[in-house]
């Protein structure tokens, strides 16, 4: 068993978990934040994307123990004081979600790469979305939302 102490969405937590527990399972099953999803077993789909110490990572690819001491933000922590994050806002305004299952991971991935690259070209956006799968939207409106969010955040 491992003791994992970490901050999630600004709140300090301490959990005792089996050594092999993945961060995504800690978030979903122990912290009971089910907005972070699991869509694959091979690190391909990005549904589990969260921010760890400010960086977008796939939480299915991190052991819970590796997150000891980390500062984690999940989709539940994105809206602040009742105000949506610009990426959340852009996703709904551009109809960039249908079933919504990929959406938390998409939003976390997009907000992560816009931090590194606030003015991406189309090709950079496609590249940035390479690790996130969506089955519903055909990505066209997701790309639109990324552009709209980038614009809103540069203001």
């Amino acid at each position: 068993m491992a003791k994992v102490e970490l901050k999630i969405n600004g709140k300090q937590h301490s959990f005792d978990v089996e050594d092999r527990t993945l961060l995504v399972n800690l978030i979903r099953d122990h912290a009971q934040l089910t907005g972070t999803h699991v869509g694959c077993d091979t690190s391909q789909c990005g549904a589990c994307t969260i921010h760890m110490n400010g960086m977008a990572v796939k939480s299915c690819t991190v052991l819970a123990g590796q997150a000891n001491g980390a500062d984690i933000t999940t989709i539940e922590g994105m809206a602040k004081d009742g105000k949506l994050h610009p990426v959340q806002q852009a996703f709904t305004e551009c109809h960039a979600l249908q079933c919504g299952f990929c959406t938390p991971g998409m939003i976390m991935a997009v907000s992560g790469f816009l931090k590194d690259n606030p003015k991406p070209t189309d090709d950079e956006i496609y590249h940035g979305l390479e690790g996130n799968l969506c089955r519903c939207t055909g990505y066209i409106n997701i790309v639109k939302a990324v552009k709209q969010a980038a614009k809103a955040m540069s203001k």
């Binding site: 077993d41 709904t92 249908q98 079933c99 055909g138 990505y139």
Partner: protein, 772 residues
Amino acid sequence: MDQHEHHSRLFKVGGAQVSRFEDMRLITGNGKYSSDWNAPGQLHACFLRSDRAHARIVSINFDKVGQIKGVVGVYTGADAQAAGYLRPPSFLPPTGKGGMKARVPERPCLAIGKVRFVGDPVAMVIAETHLAALDACDLIDVVYEDLPAVVDPEEALKPGAPQLHDDVPGNCPVEAESGVEAPVMEAIAKAAHVTKITVDCTRVTASPMEPRAALIEYTADTDSYVVHTPSQGVNMTRKQFATYANLGEDKFRVEIQDVGGGFGQRSTVYPEYVSMMMAAKALQRPIKWVSTRTESFLTDTHGRANLITATLALDKNAQFTGLRIDWITDQGAYLSPTGPAGHIRNATSCMNGVYNIPALYGHFKVVLTNTGWVAAYRGAGRPDIAYAIERVVDAAALELNMDPADLRRRNYLALSDYPYKSATGSTIEIADLPGLSAKALALADWSGFEARKAASARKGKLRGIGMSAVIEPTGAGSYPRDEIDISVDGEGQVTVHTVAHSQGQGHETSFAMVVAEALGIATERVKIRQGDADRAPHMVGNHTGGSRSMVGAGTVCHIAANKLIDAGKSLAAEDLGVEPSQVSYGKGEFTSAHSKKKITLAQLAAKKTLAAKGEGTFISTFPNGCHIAEVEIDPETGITEIASYLSVDDCGHVVSHTIVEGQMHGAVVQGLGQVFGEHIVYDKESGQMLTGTFMDYIMPRAGKLKSIQMEEYTTLSKLGPLGIKGMGGSGCTASLPALVNAVVNALGVRHLDMPLTPSKVWKTIQQTNVKH
């Protein structure tokens, strides 16, 4: 109306832009999908699955399982036998060609005696934690005696092929036919030209991003079950559970909220779910299971898997005189509820496509192979038949050295030909392909293609253009009618109940728009409740599938709202001191010119029960469209880029342009996925699946299709008061042939089977030595 104007009309309510109502919870992480349900005291299930394609189970030894702390039970086929959970429902008609009796094999929820595909569940372990269940599965020893396996449907039909089920001789559950053979054979014999082509509408998998999951609770006092699992409609799910488990539908309460994509894959109650019922009852504790993605690839119902030969007869004026379709539909190791029936019915319904073809004959062979089972997938036979027709038409144009657009134009049914009674017995309501495709050809600048091709050639690229003109049935359901319950509360809030269930289609918004429009009130005042567990058992209605929800439930939302107005008029009459006929309604208020009084919906509902039930029965209506794609291929790499994609669609009256466009994007890209990468492949020798992860199964990604120029060309359906034709699948139906036609055109070959991967395209270029 141009693209921009469409967008300015999105979700506008009273001039203000609003988001989909479902969005707020989904973008903040507050959605509730099946794996998000938990119950106090729940146990976890894990399935041991067959690691081989075809084998006799000699023995199962689970002595070692006790070493794992927390294991509370192991279930096998013997338990399935004892429970009698042996037969999932099948919608296959009982008789086929020449009165042949359909032979639907058993599918016990856990394998009995034999495994028939890689992934077949052999044992279920129940433990206190998921990880304990997983560990315990590893310790079960199964001794198998391997049997020869067959994964190719043509091989499976040959004499001497390995037999999957003793009671399905020749691996053929049924042969079916539609239309009449003799006139087609005569047309072929007399034809000036005959084009014959065989196309593989490949096996793919729906891959909704939410993997399957279930939480099953048993209630002892009523001997009944509460079920949480992805569904396209709770009543259909209840019915399927009831059939599989030989219990009454009243024994199942289905509670669900959000569903992470469906595409037909959620139209089946799976063996895992009924297996979990056994444990829930025996252990009197809730049982939870969440599928891994690899389990999804192996055991979710697959889609398509049809090998289709189309033989088209043309006279000397290039008029189509007859079409013969020979169709082998690979259903995998067992028959799913929707699989064979849907493919045959939908293909029969539109076997003439958008053309005037006086003689039609279809011959269907349903085949079992040692592979995963197959069910409805985004179109369920509709894309497959359209793909075969639109490929044979293009091949005929190539052979006759004609412009494919011209060959189509000569053969389109005219607007005045509708309603059209096809030679396979379907009545196709209304379409105007001459007008619609003329619009598409003009917008795509079809006639200017040669110049663009030359420009591509100067860059060293091969350019191709392809079109498709397609139609498909939607609207008819499997329940006798669709019902909608509507009521108003004292705050003026309108609540609408439906049993259709969105898996992303956005019913909470689009149905609310219909009701708000009918009542003349703000959309925010309308709350759509889908599949309410208390109410659904008392309602009749179809699930969401086959592109039909807006046609059925959506139209009934309008009917119900108008019944509510009528009911309100009677109730308001007393208050207004007049006869009901003297009450008028508008914008949320009942008024009387006679008494000069008025009462609002809210005021009336505060005093009296204001509620109504709407209902409607719908036969098929036919969305249609023309899509035109241009591709550019790099001959050095074989990589295909989509240079442009245009769609002109007729889906009747459109309620929400935003949602329709979103559905179209998704459907076109699902078609594109099948065309360029997606393919479920089994090794012919071992029967192992070679594409069991997203690393091997190539899903479309952002940027493959950068944009769609989307236009409408509307003819209204007369089947309902709103003129809706339905959509959702149609983008996929049109994009398969449009994209393949474009690539084949670029390569100058007659046909190439999907998936058109870079390596396949590159090899073709090497073999044919195409000039660029």
